[in-house]
């Protein structure tokens, strides 16, 4: 079974997201911070990482550091960044494309 890791500092939101993923045939792991998430990724085979940045304004910094850390991995999981906040135009998704990550909006 595929493994999905949620990195979300908001425990209530992380639980909601975990619940929403119930119909998807995957095992869900949850970490509240990036450092612990990286240890999990190194220890377990993770297919997809859902990153929910604490602040939509600083999400690029968070995602950059995650991508940097993942570069050393032999098999990189797919990264999805969930932005909580208003849509601010295509620049965020284009930035994600450059890093090969998928940017989704939670409305």
């Amino acid at each position: 079974m595929e493994q999905v890791l949620i990195i979300d500092p908001d425990p209530i939101h992380a639980t909601d997201l975990e619940d929403a993923l119930h119909p998807v045939n995957c095992r869900v792991l949850v970490c509240s911070e990036q450092e612990a998430a990286l240890n999990t990724i190194r220890a377990e085979h993770v297919d997809l990482v859902i990153m929910v940045p604490p602040s939509p304004a600083l999400w690029r910094k968070d995602v950059d550091s995650l991508c940097d850390a993942m570069r050393q991995l032999e098999k990189r999981p797919q990264i999805v960044c969930v932005l909580r906040g208003p849509y601010k135009g295509p620049a965020e998704r284009l930035y994600g494309d450059r890093l090969d990550i998928k940017v989704l909006y939670e409305r």
């Binding site: 595929e2 929403a20 797919q78 939670e106």
Partner: protein
């Protein structure tokens, strides 16, 4: 607090991305070879040219930037699939098979010099083909090593043999 319903579009996207990842793991890239100066009602007859080789994956086709010799070597490997060939064997085929001896004879002017690489240079071409395959694989976003497509194995007498482990499609055009 968000409900499950509100987060459903995100869950559906995750479901799709996981399925896409599974599909990528199973689906293999293919090679497409273009033969030029084809005569109607014939099939891969001598006189044709090997014009281009592409790495094809889903709807994408990435041209491999190969020299004429590289193209002939990849064509030779595809014709003899699944038999693996040594550099000596490839050298012999390229210098005796009418397709390669008369390569491009159908073309107007037909002044193409026959390509006859030596055994040692064939090994260099294998490396170059892999470099091009690697670039194309990266371009289509596949995490596949070129050595998994152009494979080399060692025989019991320590001779390295090469083979293509992928589907190859040959397309013809009349110019």
């Amino acid at each position: 607090m968000k409900g499950r319903e509100e987060l459903r579009p995100i869950a559906e996207e995750i479901d799709y991305l996981l399925a896409k990842r599974r599909q990528k793991a199973v689906e293999r890239p293919r090679l497409a070879l273009i033969h030029g100066h084809h005569r109607p009602e014939t099939n891969c007859l001598h006189g044709e040219t090997v014009e281009q080789a592409y790495l094809a994956y889903e709807a994408q086709e990435i041209p491999l930037r190969l020299s004429p010799t590289g193209l002939l070597i990849i064509d030779c490997l595809s014709r003899h699939r699944p038999t693996p060939l040594s550099a000596t064997h490839i050298e012999r085929i390229l210098s005796s098979d009418p397709f390669y001896l008369r390569h491009g004879a159908n073309a107007l002017g037909a002044n193409r010099a026959a390509v006859r690489p030596r055994r040692a240079s064939i090994k260099v071409y294998m490396r170059r083909i892999r470099v091009q395959l690697g670039k194309a694989l990266k371009e289509v976003g596949l995490d596949v090593r070129p050595e998994g497509i152009l494979v080399s194995e060692t025989t019991d007498s320590n001779v390295v043999v090469y083979g293509l482990k992928t589907n190859v499609e040959v397309r013809h055009r009349q110019y």
